[in-house]
Amino acid sequence: MQLTLEFGGGLELLCNSVKIHNVDVDLQSQAGEKLTMKDLLAWVHTNLIKERPEMFMKGDTVRPGVLVLVNDCDWELSGQLDTTLGEKDSVVFISTLHGG
């Protein structure tokens, strides 16, 4: 599945200082189930985060203080980890934790 992932607010430093990643997520979702943000976070953790993963994740979700937007919409409106993703969706992660 083609997705556009964007890291901002300092999170780009955790993935080689690249802000925008056009990725092909080849996760096998079980029995016709849709890919969820929960699956994507695990994938990002394994495949994109190069250092200090604790700045990005806490448990199985993002660290408090990291904002997530799916198709430019706050993921708190779409079910957070249960938000389902489709082809060509965009997901943005922004840290609020650095810099004043």
């Binding site: 300092g10 430093l13 904002l67 919409c73 779409s78 609020t96 650095h98 810099g99 004043g100």
Partner: protein, 359 residues
């Protein structure tokens, strides 16, 4: 996955939800303060108008005043500069706005963020003044760190920044300094001051305006503004801000308080405003000894001691005794050095760079 639908806002339970204010457009965020689900356009309106109300209700500015905005290039001060210049135009505040930045002399960090501020100067049409540690104190932070190492360096930086902003404000001849401290910052500082037993700071850290008896009062127009909304606003408006941590070790103690606040916010977003309220409502026992505010015998800056903290630190640097003024100090007035003592040895990477928060 199946063929993508033609319409973009598809699937996702709730992603197609309507804005609870206009009932027309698709909601784009959930407000932490009210839990309302609102669209971008309505968000801009409520975000800006709430700040306008805070400014008016608290009489933060008077017509004709010259106001410096403490500008680091980070998200808070960038949004503050943008919103204040908007509101100044829209509501005829009749303010002369300026950007004021401090160049600590940190290669690879401040030089980059100052580039952001210089772009803001052009984008928002606000004159910029930069004051540097080198010209004010004769030392850059790079030089200080070379001498003292990565222990206590944040103490130097924090103490020097506070004065540098005041001196810059004096050079600009402004009436007031506005800073980008947001609700999350203030809640965090309330907790820190409780943890440190710093009664003097606890009682003033929630004030929206401070230093009215001094030469340059400071105010915090974002006192009630959630960090989440500031970042969302900057993202939706594509504002140009800088977000790299300082290369010289962040303040771990503050980092813990910060993380705690964010954890609380996730469970109950109103916790942030509730902590501020608690801070405001503290009644300090009348038998508590409060520090007396005087002036530094050396430089004339406000100080509760014979010499102000910056002069003591500077004396240490110049005499090759950088420990001077660091560590246990006299009474409750001593400052930010306290948190640094805890931070050694803990490799912690969260948090805003220390020293950004002068209360």
């Amino acid at each position: 996955m199946q063929e993508a639908d033609v319409v973009k806002p598809k699937k996702n339970i709730g992603a197609g939800r309507q804005c609870t204010i206009c009932n027309q457009r698709r909601a784009a965020l959930k407000r932490p303060k009210t839990l309302e689900q609102i669209c971008r356009e309505c968000f801009y309106v409520v975000f800006e108008e709430e700040i306008h109300r805070v400014i008016v209700d608290n009489q933060l500015f008077k017509p004709g005043e010259r106001i410096a905005i403490g500008a680091s290039g980070g998200k808070d001060s960038t949004v503050l500069a943008y919103v204040l210049s908007e509101l100044n135009r829209r509501h005829n505040y009749e303010l002369d706005l300026f950007l004021l930045s401090v160049d600590e002399g940190i290669t690879g960090y401040r030089d980059d963020s100052l580039e952001t501020v210089k772009r803001n100067e052009i984008q928002y049409g606000l004159p910029l003044k930069v004051v540097s540690y080198k010209e004010l104190y004769g030392w850059t932070m790079d030089e200080i760190v070379k001498m003292i190492g990565l222990k206590n360096n944040c103490t130097f930086c924090g103490v020097f920044r506070r004065q540098a902003l005041d001196r810059g404000a004096a050079l600009l001849k402004v009436d007031k300094l506005a800073t980008g401290h947001n609700a999350d910052d203030i809640a965090e500082t309330v907790l820190l001051n409780i943890l440190r037993g710093d009664i003097a700071r606890l009682s003033r850290c929630t004030s929206i305006t401070t230093g009215e008896d001094g030469p340059i009062p400071r105010c915090k127009p974002f006192k009630y503004t959630y960090e989440k909304e500031i970042v969302m606003y900057a993202y939706f408006k594509r504002l140009d801000y800088f977000s790299t941590e300082c290369i010289y070790s962040p303040n771990a103690y503050r980092g813990f308080a910060r993380e705690f606040i964010k954890d609380l916010e996730r469970i109950r977003p109103s916790a942030i405003l509730d902590i501020i309220k608690s801070g405001e409502d503290f009644r300090i026992s009348t038998s508590t000894k409060m520090p007396e505010q005087g002036t530094c015998e050396r430089c004339g800056y406000i100080s509760s001691q014979k010499w102000c903290k910056a002069c003591i630190l500077l004396e240490g640097l110049n005499r090759g005794l950088p420990k001077l003024g660091i560590g246990r100090s006299r009474g409750i007035t001593t400052d930010r050095s306290n948190d640094m003592k805890q931070s050694n040895g803990i490799k912690n990477i969260q948090s805003k760079q220390c020293g950004t928060l002068d209360f």
